[in-house]
């Protein structure tokens, strides 16, 4: 199998709508998810959830570990339960083939070498501001649509996913600066983006302003 075939094989596992719902729930969850919680979130039986979750692990889309969910330890605490989280690694396929990631990398390299950080940030801020009205209506949905996988943590919105992950690895200052500017443009007046990294996610969190 070539790379494209393996991507199709992995993504094909998500063709089943129940499995897809489970994947989305686990991938966007702030913490590892147990079988009971996953079953409840998707509205299916525990055994059906267990079956599909393990298929997702087999495909390499989820990772599994064991944890005592009861919070108790020692004798009588019960067996550790399986808990699931999003696996590392990206799977993308496009028909017909498109290479926007290769183009993005080349563009980033040129922008970096030309020292055009400020120009990029201005463009990102404007791109975010173009959606500011929609974000003022439903900020969570606006962030979700951009791939951030937001979740509420008290008066803070944390971002479970970094939509620019691979580019950040090679051009962190440039691309994180672009991302911060984009979120500053997007965030309605009531919210302030600040640096507060979510493990394996976005480094920016949005805090509700006190005076709103």
């Amino acid at each position: 199998m070539d790379t494209e075939d393996s991507a199709f094989a992995v993504l094909g596992v998500l063709g089943d709508p129940v499995r897809r719902s489970l994947y989305r729930h686990v991938a966007a969850a702030p913490e590892d998810v147990g079988r009971d919680a996953a079953a409840e979130a998707v509205g299916i039986s525990r055994s059906l959830a267990a079956f599909h979750l393990d298929k997702l692990v087999e495909a390499g889309l989820l990772d599994v570990s064991f944890r005592r969910l009861s919070g108790r330890t020692g004798p009588g605490a019960g067996r550790p339960s399986k808990v699931y989280r999003r696996a590392e690694g990206e799977h993308a396929v496009s028909v017909p083939p498109r290479s926007y990631d290769a183009a993005g990398r080349l563009l980033a390299e040129v922008v970096e070498n030309a020292g055009l950080d400020r120009e990029l940030q201005a463009a990102a801020k404007a791109a975010g501001a173009a959606d500011r009205e929609a974000a003022a209506g439903d900020l969570i949905e606006a962030l979700r649509a951009r791939g951030y996988q937001p979740f509420r943590d008290g008066d803070t919105l944390r971002l479970r996913n970094c939509p620019f992950h691979a580019l950040v690895a090679d051009f962190p200052a440039l691309v994180c600066g672009m991302n911060l500017a984009l979120l500053e443009g997007l965030a309605p007046d009531a919210w302030s983006p600040r640096m507060d990294p979510c493990p394996d996610g976005c480094c920016v969190a949005l805090s509700k302003n006190k005076n709103h």
């Binding site: 070498n113 030309a114 020292g115 055009l116 950080d117 400020r118 940030q121 090679d170 962190p172 200052a173 994180c176 600066g177 911060l180 500017a181 600040r194 640096m195 990294p197 480094c203």
Partner: protein, 172 residues
């Protein structure tokens, strides 16, 4: 603990004099960012000039009054990466082109030092030159091509240079 710490150096050419209007916002943020570095997990040491607050008095090239140097020691690459990209330091970093010219040649380096070693300016600039002339290697590397700390039995290359930042300036 591996018995080794990570030293890092980077140089930057200012767009104007340190006490001029272009650099005012940068200078104003220095105390806060240096304090943030010092309380970040894995911070070990940072080079300071004779005034002792920061390294803005150090000139790595006597011929170039606009060239600043930043040199520090951390417990690991991850500790340095976390501070650099995952804290409010990023906010300062994203404004780098307001204050510093983009340098075409390599302008930074990392290398492993025995825990307790304080790199001199000459040693640091030598590492920048290594990346500049030979590309990344275990002796001088970057975030993009990190090398693991040496095994404890390996004697690292840096000889015990004076820990003072007043060592003779290397020429670029």
């Amino acid at each position: 603990m591996t018995g080794f710490h990570l030293a890092q150096v980077n140089v930057g050419r200012m767009v104007g004099p340190l006490d001029g209007p272009e650099l005012a916002a940068f200078v104003a943020q220095l105390p806060e960012i240096n304090a943030l570095a010092e309380r970040s997990p894995g911070f070990v040491w940072r080079m300071v000039d004779e005034e002792g607050e920061d390294a803005t008095g150090v000139r790595p090239d006597e011929q170039d009054d606009l060239l600043l140097v930043n040199c520090s020691v951390w417990e690991s690459v991850e500790a340095l990466r976390n501070f650099t990209y995952h804290t409010d330091h990023l906010r300062v970093l994203t404004r780098r082109r307001e204050w510093f010219h983009r340098m075409a040649e390599a302008h930074q380096a990392m290398w492993w030092v025995p825990a307790g070693h304080r790199p001199s300016l000459a040693e640091a600039m030598e590492r920048v030159a290594m990346v500049r002339h030979n590309g990344p290697s275990p002796l001088a590397f970057t975030f993009r091509d990190p090398y693991p700390a040496p095994a404890p039995s390996v004697i690292p290359a840096p000889t015990a240079a004076p820990a003072s930042s007043a060592a003779p300036a290397a020429q670029l």
